[in-house]
């Protein structure tokens, strides 16, 4: 144990830890700013508490060698599947989707944990391979592992969260030995299948608000109220921050209620309004450094399953970042996907913390046999 700690001090991924800590601090402050004086005031201390929990979880995720995590991956995965099914049957509905599990005073969204469990299970599957190569069959298997919780999440139905499983499929793709031709072929198949599913979905299970969001994105002028109103107000919040921002706790769009969901999906709007271009770019730089670090870790990882874990972390966090920030600055349509480590919400924070912790874990234990 002592030895292990010493090893961690020497080889640990301290840069990742530092960046992660910075994100937690930013998140705590911004949720506080976004909730002060609103009916959500009580959420800020809760988020800070969650940040402490996240720090602890991070330590566990990064200190316990990932081989051990992988060893228990099937158990974790199975547990998550059971809980997802349970949630589907007995879950607590929020905004029309049964995605919440209430345990005493705390509510969980099991799908956030199922994501990391799926990544671990995929790593476990790869570990047990005799030939450490991801061919078509292996890729199909990984897709199945990722797809099962994703489908369960989709039928909750929580469309936004379900899509956050997809980056892991891309991660698997990325690490596979499938040739570019094959990748393109399958990608083509995926695009066609996606398009077909989209069309089917449009006429069957997409909810009106989801359709409205897509339409609003395609043509923002049509609907200045509703979804268009949110996009419009978010853009005003971002733009009006100008170079240095209006100052913490002084964003008018935020504090006077013009910005929708300022402590959750649109928290980046608060950051952009109150800290301006300088603050927004600083935050993006933290994410840039973190993700670039993961890209470097892929090269250093000692085995395929480690690489897969890092790749999954990279893909999931980048996806969250692109979709969330892109939504706030008006580059992608509105979806309910949080900004990692900043948006209010314990489940998402802990789930993503596990991803970062495991990625740091892979780097820290790159020499361990």
């Amino acid at each position: 144990m002592r030895q292990a700690l010493k090893g961690y001090v020497v080889y640990g991924d301290h840069l990742t830890s530092l960046l992660f800590l910075a994100l937690l601090v930013v998140g705590s402050i911004m949720v506080h700013s976004a909730t002060t004086g609103t009916k959500f005031t009580s959420l800020a201390p809760r988020q800070t508490a969650w940040c402490f929990v996240a720090a602890a979880v991070y330590l566990l995720a990064t200190l316990i060698p990932y081989d051990i995590w992988i060893e228990y991956s099937y158990v974790l995965y199975g547990l998550c599947i059971v809980v997802l099914v349970a949630v589907m049957l007995f879950g607590h509905a929020v905004a029309g989707s049964r995605s919440w599990l209430i345990l005493g005073p705390v509510g969980f969204q099991p799908s956030e944990f199922a994501k990391v469990a799926a990544a671990l299970a995929g790593a476990g599957y790869l570990k047990d391979l005799s030939q450490k190569v991801i061919g078509l069959r292996e890729f199909g298997m990984l897709c199945a592992i990722i797809g099962l919780p994703m489908v369960l999440t989709l039928v909750e139905p929580d469309f936004g969260t379900a899509t956050t499983f997809l980056p892991m499929v891309l991660a698997a793709f990325f690490l596979s030995r499938l040739s570019l031709g094959q990748i393109l072929k399958w990608a083509g198949v995926a695009v066609v299948a996606g398009a077909v599913l989209f069309v089917i979905g449009w006429f069957t299970f997409f909810k009106p608000y989801q359709k409205e969001r897509i339409l609003t994105f395609v043509n923002p002028g049509t609907n200045l109220r509703g979804a268009g109103y949110q996009v419009h107000q978010a853009r005003i919040a971002v733009g009006s921050g100008e170079v240095t921002g209006k100052g913490l706790y002084s964003g008018t769009q935020n504090r006077l209620n013009f910005l929708p969901a300022p402590h959750t999906d649109f928290v980046f709007g608060v950051i952009a309004e109150e800290t301006g271009f300088v603050g927004s770019m600083a935050l993006l730089a933290i994410f840039l450094a973190l993700l670039a670090r993961f890209a470097g870790t892929i090269l250093l990882a000692r085995d395929l399953e480690g690489r897969f874990l890092v790749c999954c972390s990279f893909a999931v966090i980048l996806y969250h970042l692109v979709i969330n920030v892109g939504m706030v600055i008006g580059l992608v349509p509105t979806t309910g996907i949080p900004l990692p480590f900043i948006s209010y919400g314990g489940s998402s924070l802990i789930g993503l913390t596990l991803f970062v912790g495991l990625a740091a874990n892979v780097r820290a234990h790159r020499f361990l046999r």
Partner: protein, 653 residues
């Protein structure tokens, strides 16, 4: 330390991931640079537009009071529905949402028209006097109805309804044309400007000036005070200046007595203090209710007023020009005396008809015999005045007419005054109607032919007689007397005319219907012909529309007169009947107070005690008449005034 041989393409893949991350970073950075640096000030102004609202501090329009302090016009609080196009959104969607949420029907064309009417391009008043409950409904459906808001405004209310409506006038929302005319630049669509009556002539005094405050509001439009947000643009910008109240010379009790005395007849009556020009009563019937205009008057109501055969919008004392009839005769007599052409003892013989230039000029009598000036005035003998006019000639009549202001506007402080006509050879020539024939002077001499007067013009003449030559500008609004001119009249001539006028009433003359024991009323009757008198028909046998106009004009008391009056009843028959009765009712009130029966034996037909409702409880005014295009009006003001969009803090506590 065994490293399994990694995928050979791994370094390239890792590099690709780094490029991917950098691409996202740069792309987002560029987007943020565009939004925050390049477009930053634009979005800052949008955010300021979001949270600042200019709240107009409405200043109340000045009240109107009668000479005894009775409230003739006051302000009441009303809720109005406003559309703000600057808020962004679809007008069509808002129209649909209004129908659904508020149950309020309005067409796209009506909305467009409302924007055109507004002096503030982006704000349109869609409905006035809406239920206060709409305030909550609009707030509850903020997203759909974001273009709408409810504003409190102060609206004119005339507690006496129709009474003195033509003198008071009415107000309307300021139109872009009004704004131009008054050289006002306003940010408020609720500015009311006078459109008629003293409301119009005293408009600038009554109006006051709106103040302005910039408030910080949240997304629901509620004002928010947040110490964290130190916004320099928020605060009081301009203090509101309330309009000044205006006291009028009108005596509302007299006004009501006179209006009731008309008893459905059409016409006008004006009572004036000749020594100051103060107008004590201003009757023009049929009339209208100025409150009707204070609601946004509906098209049907407007058409009903305009197309009413009685022309209720006509301000008859200054907009109706009629033949003066026999009320003109004292003027002719006075000119004759002053010019030395006639004396009081000049006698002409009346045989009922006078052949002149091949024409037969009739008297209303079969023949008065030998008539001197006093009996000619007393009995209103036409033949006497034909002779008199013939001797005096049109030039002298014209010169004296100009001195007395005949054929000219009196300058009363009411809009839309017209003048009568005093025919002259020059006037006739200028109109291309040929030379003036001596035979044309004869009808003028009895107040017919090329001679018309407005009732106020005639009153001004009798007022000048009452003062012995001093003319004051007639005024509805109180203030110091304004001397117009002084006509030099010899006391001897004046005494003769006064004696004649006294006899008309008190000597068994045509005006005996106005005889009031204890008051020396001097007056002259007049019967302006509508149908040729030569038809020989008794005026009462004619259809109402063909009957003669009845005049009754004069002053009282004979010595040191305190009141001059004119009564004009269209198609009223003989002035000595209906006109004298109306004047008598007014004079009895003025000289004996509200209850003449206590002073005098015979009861008066117009019971004044029921004629004078207190202004607090008007008996004839529906305080909140429904406006056709609008839902039921609120009954009063809620106890708590919601602190909300546009609360007129200028008026609210």
């Amino acid at each position: 330390m065994i490293r399994p041989s990694p995928d050979a393409s791994l370094p390239a893949k890792a590099a690709f991931l780094k490029v991917l991350v950098w691409t996202v970073f740069i792309l987002f950075g560029l987007r943020l640079f565009y939004l925050q640096v390049l477009q930053g000030s634009y979005y800052r102004s949008l955010s300021e537009n979001n949270y600042t609202r200019n709240i107009v501090l409405r200043s109340p329009r000045g009240m109107l009071l009668d000479r005894n302090g009775k409230v003739l016009c006051r302000n009441r609080v009303s809720f109005s529905l406003v559309m703000d196009s600057a808020k962004g959104g679809s007008v069509d969607d808002t129209i649909a949402a209004m129908r659904r949420i508020l149950g309020f029907e309005i067409t796209r064309a009506e909305v467009t028209a409302a924007f055109h009417r507004s002096p503030v391009g982006s704000l349109a008043v869609l409905a006035r006097d809406v239920p206060p409950s709409w305030l909550q409904k609009i707030e509850a459906h903020q997203q759909e109805l974001s273009m709408l808001r409810i504003e409190m405004e102060l609206r004119r209310e005339y507690p006496y309804g129709n009474r003195a409506g033509h003198a008071l006038g009415y107000v309307g929302l300021m139109s872009p044309e009004d704004a131009k005319r008054l050289e006002l630049k306003e940010n408020d669509p609720f500015i009311e400007v006078g459109k008629a009556g003293v409301e119009k002539t005293a408009n600038l005094r009554l109006m006051g000036k709106n103040g302005l405050r910039t408030a910080q509001v949240n997304s629901s439009g509620r004002e928010v005070v947040d110490p964290n947000l130190r916004l320099p643009s928020v605060g009081l910008k301009e203090e509101p200046v309330p309009g000044k109240p205006l006291k009028l010379n009108l005596d509302m009790d007299l006004q009501i007595i006179l209006e009731q005395a008309f008893a459905g007849e059409t016409g006008s009556a004006v009572f004036m203090n000749p020594n100051t020009g103060e107008i004590l009563a201003w009757v023009s019937v049929p009339d209208y209710d100025p409150n009707l205009f204070s609601k946004s008057v509906s098209t049907e109501d407007w058409n009903a007023l305009v197309n009413d055969p009685g022309h209720p919008l006509l301000n008859r004392p200054i907009q109706g020009a009629y033949p003066a009839g026999s009320t003109f005769k004292p003027f002719v007599a006075l000119v004759g005396l002053e010019e030395g052409i006639l004396t009081a003892s000049t006698v002409f013989s009346c045989g009922g008809v006078w052949e002149y230039g091949g024409h037969a000029f009739h008297c209303h009598s079969k023949g008065h015999g030998a008539v001197d000036m006093l009996s000619a005035i007393q009995n209103s003998c036409n033949i006497y005045f034909y002779h008199a006019g013939d001797r005096i000639g049109i030039q002298r009549l014209d010169r004296w007419g100009a001195l007395f202001g005949l054929g000219q506007k009196t300058g009363v402080d009411l809009p839309g005054e017209t003048s009568g006509l005093l025919g002259s050879p020059e006037w006739k020539k200028a109109r291309g109607m040929g030379p003036w024939y001596p035979g044309e002077t004869l009808p003028v001499s009895i107040g017919q032919g090329y001679l018309t007067v407005t009732p106020l013009e005639l009153l001004s003449f009798y007022g000048t007689l009452a003062t012995g030559g001093t003319r004051y500008r007639p005024r509805i609004a109180s203030g110091p007397p304004e001397l117009l001119s002084t006509v030099a009249i010899s006391p001897e001539s004046l005494a003769v005319i006064k004696e004649g006028l006294w006899r008309v009433v008190n000597g068994g003359g045509t005006g005996k219907g106005c005889r009031i024991p204890g008051v020396d009323v001097c007056a002259k009757t007049g019967t302006a012909q509508v149908v040729e008198a030569s038809s020989g028909k008794n005026t009462y046998s004619l259809e109402k529309g063909e009957r003669d106009h009845a005049w009754f004009a004069g002053f009282a008391p004979r010595n040191n007169p305190t009141v001059a009056f004119v009564v004009m009843v269209e198609h009223g028959g003989h002035g000595g009947d209906v006109g004298a009765a109306i004047a008598k009712a007014g004079l009895e009130y003025l000289f004996f107070g509200k209850n003449p029966t206590e002073v005098q034996g015979p009861p008066v037909p117009h019971a004044p005690e029921q004629a004078a409702p207190s202004p607090q409880v008007p008996t004839d005014l529906p305080l909140e008449p429904p406006v056709p295009e609008e839902p039921p009006v609120p009954q009063g003001i809620p106890a708590t005034v919601p602190a909300d969009p546009g609360s007129p803090t200028g008026a609210a506590p």
